[in-house]
């Protein structure tokens, strides 16, 4: 079995890990933004599905992946708009609306798929990659990491952009205040509703983009329920990351690598039930929580709608 682990295969595994990680990363980054601003966004799975569906529709009919990413993000924003309206503006329960949106979009996208694609199952052509000179020549790692679609690099750049926003801009301060003590932000003259709305819409854009990536790059097609719980994983990642975008990246990669590990073990002919291998990433995270379970540092006002002057 030694011969199995050729360079090509190893880099394909790594490539697969990255491809699987990107939607989780985008969802996690999005969720993190909402949570920072005090909105527990359980509807992220629905936003991803909207992004996946519209992203695919956009890419398929226009033939342009970029347009697909754009329509996907727009789809996520559209769902986020409903969430922002209901949960931020008028303060409905975030969990009820989040779950309702997820259920609704599961149904709606499946319905649309049924009428539109269930006879033809259209698929997109191969994705063009942006090759980064020199780096892409490194054995194994090079082809896996530096021959990706441009959007992958952008997603990773986004991690650092988010870090910058949170630590170095007024917006970062506003977001944190909106999550920790919205009343203080309000009396400082910043509209809490607007801040939270911006956060939720950004979440929608990122989740939609993640969904579009999943459909267009990850799968190359759309089928019902394609996200398969990726949104909920995004919520877990965001909470584990405690407000740090880099940790979302690490977490997403951990899940991606575990998925590839499953494949690697099977291809190597190691006979372990897949159910057990599938438990690995969750087990790893649980063990980390048991060993290093520090005090949770979630925003104080997470999940609580803000109403000015209420007491």
């Amino acid at each position: 079995m030694t011969g199995l682990f050729s360079e090509v295969f190893l880099s394909a595994l790594l490539f697969g890990a990255v491809t699987a990680a990107i939607p989780l990363l985008l969802a996690g980054l999005g969720e993190q933004m909402s949570e920072k601003a005090g909105v527990l966004n359980i509807g992220i799975e629905g936003m991803m599905l909207a992004g996946a569906y519209l992203g695919f529709v956009g890419a398929f009919y226009s033939g342009s992946l970029w347009l697909g990413f754009f329509t996907g993000a727009a789809g996520g924003i559209a769902v986020a708009l409903v969430m922002a309206l209901l949960c931020v503006r008028i303060g409905l329960n975030q969990i009820v609306i989040g779950i309702a949106l997820t259920l609704g979009l599961e149904g709606l996208t499946a319905l649309l798929h049924h009428f539109q694609f269930s006879r033809s199952y259209p698929r997109l052509p191969a994705v063009d990659v942006t090759v980064i000179p020199l780096l892409s020549d490194i054995p194994v790692i090079g082809p896996a990491l530096f021959r990706q679609h441009l959007i992958v690099y952008l997603a990773i750049a986004l991690v650092f952009a988010m870090g910058h926003i949170y630590r170095r801009t007024q917006l970062g301060l506003n977001l944190q205040a909106a999550g920790d003590k919205p009343a203080a932000l309000d009396v400082a003259g910043i509209d809490v509703m607007r801040t939270r709305t911006i956060a939720v819409l950004t979440t929608g854009a990122l989740a939609g983009l993640g969904g579009a990536f999943l459909a267009n790059v990850g799968a190359g097609l759309f089928i019902p329920f394609i996200t398969n719980g990726a949104g909920f994983l995004g919520i877990v990642l965001a909470m584990l990351a405690r407000g740090r975008p880099v940790w979302v990246l690490f977490g997403a990669l951990l899940f991606g690598v575990c998925l590839s590990l499953t494949t690697a073990m099977q291809v190597a002919g190691i006979n372990i039930p897949t159910d057990i291998i599938q438990m690995l990433p969750f087990l790893a995270v649980m063990i980390m929580l048991v060993l290093f379970g520090r005090r949770a540092s979630l925003p104080a006002a997470l999940g609580i709608p803000y109403e000015r002057g209420a007491r």
Binding site: A184, A188, G189
Partner: protein, 522 residues
Amino acid sequence: MSIASSLSVDKRDIVALEGVTKRFPGVVANDGVDLAIRPGEVHVLLGENGAGKSTLIGMLSGLQQPDEGRILVDGEPTAITSPRHALALGIGTVFQHMMLVPTLTVAENLLLGGPWWQRPKTEELEARVAEITRTLGITVRLHAKVSELSLGEQQQVEILRAMVRNTRLLILDESTSMLTPKGIEELGALMRRLVGQGLAIVFITHKLKEAAAFGDRISVLKLGRKVGEIPPERFRALGEQAIISEIVELMFGKRKDDPEAAERPVRVIHAEAAPLLQVHDLAVAPTDEAPCLSSISFDIRPGEIFGIAGIDGNGQKQLAEALAGQRATMGGSVRLEGAPIEALSVGERRERGLRYLTDDRLGEGTVGTFPVSINFFLKQVGAAPFWRKGVEQRAEIDKRAAQIVREYDVRTPSLKTPVARLSGGNIQKVLLARELAEGAKVVIFNKPTYGLDLANTLASRQRIRDTAARGLAVLLISTDLEELLSMCDRIAVISNGSLVGTVENADDARTKVGRLMIGLAA
């Protein structure tokens, strides 16, 4: 008549209220209030708890809109629609409840509100803060997390925030309640300097002496209505005592001399009586927001009131929590009636008769969304006769609650009202009633009268004295030296987590405590 004169729009008014009315479920918080606020004046707003003072300034700072009446800014009728609008109009407010983000630094809190796309302009802020603090004579630690600051420091940050924003009208809602006498004096001097620079100030307090000392004009609210005003001309013509008695008459309708200077009744404490509470060498580890406590030792005998003085944030809260069992200790012993209790839980200590009245009413003292009635029994859940075999006896609870409400004069629309909807002072009464309930032997009071109006302050102090007179041991933690001097038998001073000295409350106690507080030997 002064009220009539303020009705006509005066060009000198920065802000004027005309017939402003605000209703909440079950109460009319403000009822046709007229008010004129002028530059160069400290306008003191007085009134009992729940009179509607905070509601009034809530409307000035854009948190709430009046149901009736109008607000004029610079003579123009203006609807102040949001805090942002209020800030733009030059109205800066320091609220009764802390309005800083605890997880951000002081500098970041001050920067909050800038254009969202910008980098926070820290250098600019530092320069501006340096300039302001120089003229105001205060110091702030710009790069400390707000959660690490004492309440007093936080209040200074809030005042500073108002100043950084070029405020024309500064509103201070009970800003002195957390300050030491020296801090209050400094704040007074600061206000004088500010009005000297042409600012207008609205100053809310329950302490009549402060009103008399720092004010130029006084308005008194009662049950949401404005019941009187002392204009500057009259104010200057009267002496302190005269002003105070006039205020008292406006507020309570009867003449009385300075009510705060009540005589300390001479109590006889049997020196040989065994101490009820003995604390020996108590130590508590430091945390992010508090210093460590080390070798704290004192005894309190039955009937004695033992005071702890000190600037806020020197370990008072940690001491109280360690005694109540809410905070882990690192060593030392605590004995109640001679029996060690340091290993007992909060509930067990309470059962033995140790009571703790917290200073954090909304944070831990009450469950804000629960009805007033239930909050009376928060520490007795499951106890007869309010619960029988674990089942709630609603009639029993309501009966007793109604009784307490009457006895302690809690102003609440109903027993079912969520306790957080009450005014600050009335929440405090709920706590007092709860801790003084039957079975108490040792009671720890942490700032028991903070935020209470005059009548309630006096009533509460009397209750504490009565408590001691019944033979209970009382530990009274306060930042208000007057209060300690008027109540205690002995006063210890806490500084940086240890007791730096204890003095008998005799004639020279004020100077001795004062010396201890600024780090000199008594």
